[in-house]
């Protein structure tokens, strides 16, 4: 108490002069899903710190799944009475509007599927992750730990951190917040890529590649933010839009800033010429993590691209649209053509994701209501198909782990008609055949682009889809019309987690292909909200 008294007497005189700073208004109901995810990630870290090793897996899985369900519930509750215009909260930093809510819902559901794959321990005994990732590949410790059943349970909090970062990323109204969110979503992913139980060296290589290129992309993004700040004297999207609308400031700063910013975003979305990391990382990362990355990162990145382009650069769209046309075309062609030459199933899906990123970009640069809702729908549809596809990939195994070489998939239909059937359906969805969600997704995106006067781009996109369909069908032909080799892979019977994840993905792919109206309505329920202050 003497401390307090002394302080009281000594500084009593100074206190009267202080003018209080107003705390910003926070709409807790609106950001509750995000808070739940990030809070649970922190709790997960504490679990790691204080639980004995044998309890960690079960506690972490329970916590992670409950978190996703809880955040989903909070989102649904908030959806019932949220305002049409959306809410801008936390001193204008986050805007919880209809697209953001849609993206959050998409992210949560996709993450649920991915977490089920991550948590599965039946397909690969002990789970797809190592127990000590820092051990050098090839040493006796490394061989010993491959045989043991433990796994690095840090994956779960890392997943939640990445998910939290993605949720902030697609709701942020301010480029600095966006950068922080970008880092929060990227750093855990870099780490998770290096945790594969089999093929450690490949996995670590993937992690390092992703990290180095990701760091470059972050630097590009940040440099773009700096230039835009120099241009608009603000990092808020609305302020940048206003500055660009009617002034005679230096356009060099604006376009250089926009260019660098967009490069950073396109990298995360693995679009076009910025895709170089995608095949290696998809191949090297543990398959559940690949599923998580392919589905959720793409959702978050395109959420960010949509928000930035609509919020800050709508007025100047005539200037940059041509460039993004080119990027979209390059992306589609790279994805479709290089996908043809692949012999590894994970790399093939990686190139397919590059092609899909091109299609998504076609919808994103439309900047109309239809473009927005179409892209959102496409993201949801594509995410589910991808999660299920990677789930199936994790089932086809030899003694060395997953059999990812295409030749090993020959005649799979004779071994396991069910798995081959499911995978065929998913490939058809990726190709965009009617009665699958992929068709509806492409349809809405392309029609939005057509309405916005981008007919040439749509023609290119259709051609690219046709080329891409060829390599999906090649796998189908391989599975059905080839003789299986005697020492070919076996198809594991999945445990309940993987089973649920694949079923969820497949069913939703089908449902969205047959009855898309419900989701389309929701995706088109409202536009972005940007802070007005």
């Amino acid at each position: 108490m003497t401390v307090l008294e002394a302080a009281h007497t000594s500084l009593g005189g100074f206190l009267a002069q202080v003018t209080p700073i107003q705390a910003p208004e926070i709409d807790y109901a609106a950001i509750l899903p995000m808070l739940i995810v990030l809070g649970a990630a922190c709790v997960g870290v504490l679990f790691e710190a204080f639980l004995p090793r044998y309890q960690r897996w079960s506690w972490q899985v329970a916590l992670t799944l409950l978190t996703l369900v809880g955040a989903g519930l909070a989102l649904v509750v908030y959806l019932r009475d949220n305002p049409q215009q959306g809410v801008v909260t936390l001193a204008g930093v986050l805007s919880v509007d209809r697209p953001a809510l849609f993206l959050w819902g998409t992210l949560l559901v996709l993450a649920f599927g991915a977490v089920l794959l991550i948590a599965d321990r039946s397909v690969e005994p002990g789970g797809a992750f190592v127990s000590h990732a820092a051990v050098r590949p090839g040493t006796i410790q490394d061989r010993a730990q491959a045989a043991r059943l433990g796994m690095q349970t840090e994956v779960f909090p890392l997943t939640l951190f990445a998910l939290g970062g993605m949720m902030v990323f697609c709701a942020s109204n301010n480029l600095l917040t966006m950068f922080i969110a970008l880092e929060v979503l990227s750093l855990p992913l870099y780490l998770m890529c290096g945790l594969a139980r089999r093929r450690r060296l490949l996995s670590q290589e993937a992690a390092v590649k992703y990290f180095l290129l990701g760091a470059f992309a972050s630097a590009f993004f940040l440099y773009g933010v700096a230039l835009l700040y120099g241009y608009a004297n603000s990092v808020r999207l609305r302020d940048i839009a206003e500055a660009a609308a009617g002034t005679n400031r230096s356009d060099t700063l604006l376009y250089a800033g926009l260019g660098l910013l967009v490069v950073g975003l396109l990298f995360k979305a693995s679009v076009g010429p910025f895709h170089a990391w995608t095949p290696d990382v998809y191949q090297g990362a543990p398959t559940p993590v690949t599923a998580f990355m392919a589905a959720c990162t793409k959702v978050a990145a395109f959420g960010g691209i949509l928000r930035v382009l609509t919020g800050a650069f709508q007025a100047t769209s005539w200037e940059w649209r041509g460039v993004l046309w080119g990027v979209a075309i390059v992306s589609m062609i790279i994805g479709a053509v290089l996908g043809l030459t692949q012999t590894d199933i994970k790399r093939m899906i990686a190139y397919s994701s590059v092609a899909h990123a091109g299609f998504l970009l076609v919808g994103s640069i439309a900047l109309t209501g239809e473009g927005l809702s179409g892209t959102l729908f496409y993201l949801l549809a594509y995410g589910f198909t991808t999660v299920a596809a990677f789930g199936v990939v994790s089932l086809v195994r030899t003694a060395d782990g997953e059999a990812t070489h295409l030749s090993q998939w020959a005649g799979l239909a004779k071994r396991s008609p069910l798995v081959a059937g499911v995978f065929t359906f998913l490939l058809l969805a990726l190709a965009g055949i009617p009665l699958t969600s992929g068709f509806i997704g492409k349809f809405v995106v392309f029609s939005a682009a057509l309405k916005d006067g981008m007919a040439p781009l749509v023609v290119v996109a259709l051609l690219a889809s046709a080329v891409a369909a060829f390599f999906y069908l090649r796998v189908v032909v391989l599975m059905y019309f080839s003789e299986p080799s005697p020492e070919g892979p076996t198809v594991s019977v999945p445990g309940s987690f993987t089973m649920v994840a694949i079923t969820l993905g497949t069913v939703i792919t089908f449902v969205l292909g047959v009855w898309p109206a419900f989701v389309l309505d929701w995706a088109g329920a409202g536009g972005f909200a940007f802070s007005t202050t």
Binding site: P20, I21, A23, C42, V45, L46, A49, F50
Partner: protein, 121 residues
């Protein structure tokens, strides 16, 4: 009126001049008697190790960990200073925010502690 940093620059110039002159003048005023053993690295009289740790060698990983922790806490410190300056104006809101902030770093800290990241042997 001078820029407030001018005295600091003057001091920098003076201190740099002093250090540089002393260091650079040393070879000129000292004696020079060549001896091969003098130019070898000093290892208590034994033959210098053929592959010194410099270049190609490895550094114990614990140092990297300490460096990472330093960055973490240094950034925490950087945020605490502006908070401390405006703490009175921020009031209860500031207290809650800073407690949350410290707790967040505390989670990571607890993790590192429990996993032996702070133990040296």
């Amino acid at each position: 009126m001078l820029d407030p940093y001018v005295p600091l620059v003057l001091m920098f110039v003076l201190a740099t001049a002093f250090s540089a002159v002393s260091v650079l003048v040393a070879p000129l005023i000292g004696p020079r008697r060549y001896n091969r053993a003098k130019l070898d690295s000093y290892e208590c009289g034994i033959e210098p190790s053929p592959q010194p740790i410099v270049g190609g060698g490895r550094t114990p990983v614990a140092y990297y960990l300490t460096a990472m922790l330093f960055i973490l806490f240094d950034i925490e410190m950087v945020f605490l200073y502006p908070f401390a300056v405006t703490a009175d104006a921020l009031g209860l809101f500031g207290l809650v925010e800073i407690a949350l902030f410290i707790a967040t770093v505390g989670f990571a800290y607890a993790y590192v502690w429990r996993r032996g990241g702070l133990d040296w042997n």
